[in-house]
């Protein structure tokens, strides 16, 4: 077992977990932050994406102690005083989900993208988002939501 401090969504958590336990498992099963999802366990689907010091990170693929000392943001940490971020708002407005299980990871990846690139072109969006899988196939709407959140007119792919 290993003891360490995790900073998640502006709060500090004392964690006591096996040294090999993934960040995803600790977030979900120790801290009860279940908005971050398990999809594949090998960094292929993006459902577990969180931000570590702002960088999109597959929480299923790193041991939790490796995240100590970083600032972690999960989907639960985006809202500010009950206000959605522009990315969250855009997903809602475009109806960019069906079952919604991929949505947390999609929003985290898109949030990181738009922080670095304010007005990404289509290729840049594909590059940033291609590691996130939506099995329901709502990609056209997610693309439209990202364009909407970046202030670009929707390309009409959404609705």
């Amino acid at each position: 077992m290993s003891k360490f401090l995790l900073q998640v969504n502006g709060k500090s958590y004392d964690v006591n977990a096996p040294a090999d336990e993934t960040l995803l498992s600790v977030l979900r099963n120790h801290l009860n932050l279940t908005g971050t999802k398990y999809g594949c366990g090998e960094g292929q689907c993006g459902a577990c994406t969180v931000l570590m010091d702002g960088a999109p990170t597959r929480s299923c693929s790193i041991p939790a102690p490796a995240a100590a000392g970083t600032k972690i943001t999960t989907i639960e940490g985006l809202e500010l005083d009950g206000r959605l971020t522009r990315v969250q708002q855009a997903f809602l407005e475009e109806g960019a989900f069906q079952c919604g299980y991929c949505t947390s990871g999609m929003i985290m990846s898109a949030t990181a993208l738009l922080r670095d690139t304010h007005s990404p072109n289509h290729e840049q969006i594909l590059d940033a988002m291609n590691g996130n899988v939506c099995r329901c196939g709502t990609y056209p709407r997610i693309l439209a939501a990202i364009k909407r959140a970046s202030g670009q007119a929707s390309a009409g792919g959404g609705r």
Binding site: A17, P18, D20, E21, S25, R28, N29, H30, N32, L33, T34, G35, T36, K37, Y38, G39, C40, G41, E42, Q44, C45, A47, T74, I75, E76, L78, E79, L84, Q88, Q89, F91, L92, G95, F97, Q98, C99, G100, Y101, C102, T103, S104, I107, I125, L126, M129, N130, N132, V133, C134, R135, C136, G137, T138, Y139, P140, R141, I142, L143, G157, R159
Partner: protein
Amino acid sequence: MSLSELHFLGGASHSDSETKPQLDRRDFLKVLGGGLLICLTPDLAWSQESGRTFGGHELPKDINAWLHIDADGRVKVFTGKVEVGQNIRTSLAQAVAEELRVPFDSITMIMGDTDLVPWDMGTFGSRTTPTMSPQLRNMAVEGRQMLLEMAAERWKTDVSRLVAESGTIKTPDGSKSLTYGELTRGEDLVRTVGDPPLTPATDWKIAGTPVPKANGRDFVTGKHQYPSDIARPGMQFGAVLRPQGFNATMQSIDTSAAEKLPGVQVVRDGDFTGVVAADAFTAQQAVAAIQAKWNVPEKQGNQGLFEYLKNNPEGRADDSNSGWDEQAYAAADVKLESKYTVEYIAHAPLEPRAAVAEWNNGKLTVWTGTQRPFGVQEELMHAFQLPPKQVRVIQPDMGSGYGGKHTGEAAMEAARLSKAANKPVKVVWTREEEFTWAYLRPAGLIEIRAGARRDGTLVAWEYHNYNSGPAAIGTPYDVKNQRIQFHPAKSPLRQGSYRGLAATANHFARESHMDEMAHAAGTEPLAFRMKNLSNPRLKAVLEAAAEKFGWGNAKSTPDRGFGIACGTDKGGFVATCAEVAIDPASRQVKIRRVVQAWECGAIVNPDGLRNQVQGSMVQAIGGALFERILFGNGRLQNPFFSKYRLPRFSDTPEVEVVLLDRKDLPSAGAGETGIVGLAPAVGNAIFAASGVRLRHMPMTPDNNVIRA
């Protein structure tokens, strides 16, 4: 899995098709690869469709079983259907709000909780909109009538002088009004409901509009709790030892290393071996620490699979001849014979199977992801010898299923482990487990012989489907002389329902072959279809798709091809046009643009419908181009997302949907049939560009490269 299970798992879709197989009425209880699957007679699925009895389960006819109005006017609606992303939590609430005359937001849908909702067969076969929606609307109409009568009684006036509007009964001049809550004071509405007249779609104000997804905000904030997110006080985590291959038998087992891990309890019960631990990580470690040796029997793999399916029938063929005349075929001017094949593919719902089970005073409660909460309840009742009241299954809106979550394996495992540990236990399957121990979309072989006259009139159609399934096996084209048969086979892998069932395979084969016939007859593919069609709904979607796409505006070239396909199943009509680009050097295919026209009667929620139709086209790309299960030696070889390619952003073409709203026709379901058109449209486009006819799904598994 047997034919009957296959039918059961998705069988609700072919009640009124001419391909209904004759099956013995019997119950199935099968143990497959360590997972328990109980299957009811398929006749139950068909009887559900007729809307009468439900295999001994009488549907309640009283209002209070289906809806309740609280004293504050909030409306609770109870249904055994479940939300898996198809948006019925929203569309059913719209239908009830419409008939009850209440605001949409006043409705809360209580779904898939066996303690609270009327028995339901399950959520499959696109049945929610055509069957559950009218059921709930009936209740709402009768509820509204009762409220009108209650107000009339209070005011000593005639019912016909009162109006129901926005949760209130009032006099036409508005001088008197009472809210629904004031009228019911939270008491049950007790009345037996018959068949009251429903509001026609042309008068809809809430139904028929693009109401956003109910509780959508919970999905963008991470607040929604999926089955795998459920936590209970004192909950432990479980994991299950899996055999090394299908139908493996255990030779030896040593659990001592696992038992030495802190807080680990090993549970053995017959063939079942599992562990319980305080945290999920330790549970996984403990299972990995169990030393077990297995005998894995040799089984059929991908190599020679289609010959195997043809040569290993199970049960007798389902024959739906209209009368076959070999002479008519022989006399045709244009004759073509082809074989089409489809591989096994996985549903791969992003949330794998998951369950939390807890026992309280002999009562078992399980939260799990399933399309059949009452089916899972029944599995648990059988396994633990409990009456229905002692088993409660709750199905939180889940990370989808696509036909892949009819069974309750994780629920059963969590219940066994929880009973042994005497604590609530959560089991979440790994991705590898979900690939390996769930079930797959059947592989199949389809053989077609067709004949046409020189003018393009079809005169003979012979069609044999081995193992893939009978959904949408009948041709919608006017062919007098046809022989269509489904041949169930002994599947080497566990197989079952899938979104649209075999309709995808059957449309791929039929629409590819229609394209082959068109080219052989020297007729333009759209014109060839129209010439042989009389169904006005199918013709209408073909015309709509062709118009939006600009069909015929440009000719296919070696690096750019256009294809078209159409079809119908489960009350939905679809036509798809696709444009593909082919890289001349690498021969790689990219789907550039897809236009799909869709019609399923009166549209309940155009935005939700558009989302379903778009999504099914994107999902279809996987099965069409690259998804396939690789297997041999009794195990899967690619049970990981790193080895099983799913459609991604970069695979997604420009997607356009044309919805035809037929307010004069009853609404049909739309969760499935939108998936059938893409593969043949893309295959036909590839042929138009390259001259290469791809008759195998997936068509380009090798990095999207066309191989002749």
